[in-house]
């Protein structure tokens, strides 16, 4: 049982390049999230999904796109990378019990992205 798997673990991009971060979960969770973590700013939500085929904007969505074509996968795309997108990106999945209860999120190990 792998939990939440993110690929790649590290990546260096040049300004203007594009890339896709992959997230896969094997816990059959409905909810999936993409966060970025920057020093002193905590986790900030980029986009999220409440189920297969759905996506929604989070707190800092500009410059990113996402897709959830399969329940177990959530992809984060950078169409034209900028230095401001240098960060550590975390994917998470979660569920609620009968629509109630805390949305406990399970995180991947992160992707460290540098944009030069």
């Amino acid at each position: 049982n792998a939990g939440v798997t993110q690929t790649p673990k590290f990546r260096v991009l040049k300004t203007g390049q594009s890339m896709t971060l992959l997230c896969a979960q094997d816990m059959n969770h409905e909810y999936m999230y993409w966060y970025r973590q920057d020093p002193g700013m905590g986790l900030r939500l980029i986009h999220y999904s409440v189920g297969e085929g759905t996506t929604a904007k989070g707190e800092v969505p500009d410059g990113y796109n996402v897709s959830r074509l399969k329940k177990q996968n959530f992809l984060l795309g950078l169409e034209s990378a900028a230095p401001s997108q240098t960060s550590v990106y975390f994917c998470a999945s979660g569920y609620t019990f009968f629509g109630q209860g805390a949305n406990i999120q399970y995180f991947g190990a992160g992707t460290r992205l540098s944009v030069l």
């Binding site: 909810y31 905590g42 986790l43 975390f90 805390a102 949305n103 999120q105 991947g108 190990a109 992160g110």
Partner: protein
């Protein structure tokens, strides 16, 4: 809007002592509060949660206290061990919609051997 913050950025504790990590929140509508632990180079890991209608919950070596009057919660770790060294986040959860989770910036716990 809601904010969740921690009082201290770094906490140093002697091995074997108890640790107390504090968190303040601003939105009374939060239904749950969750504590996460993040070790260096890893993603956050769930520790314990507490519903807003509770004032205390205990886990294995951890206790979370919630004071709704002053909008404050704390995480207590008993007999702190070197493996407890990490950054600890509190998060407030609003039910409704996708249950928005707001994370604090974290407190770094350093355990002194």
């Amino acid at each position: 809007g809601e904010s969740v913050g921690l009082h201290l950025p770094t906490l140093s504790v002697q091995e074997g002592d108890n640790s107390i990590i504090n968190c303040a929140y601003s939105n009374s509508a939060s239904d749950y509060f969750i504590w996460y632990k993040q070790e260096s180079g890893k993603g956050p890991q769930f520790i314990i949660d507490i519903r807003s209608n509770m004032d205390k919950r205990q886990g294995q070596r951890v206790t979370v206290l919630l004071n709704k009057t002053v909008k404050h919660l704390s995480l207590q770790i008993a007999a702190t061990q070197p493996g407890d060294s990490a950054v600890y986040f509190c998060a407030g959860v609003n039910s409704g919609g996708y249950q928005k989770v707001t994370f604090g910036t974290g407190t770094k716990l350093q355990v002194i051997p």
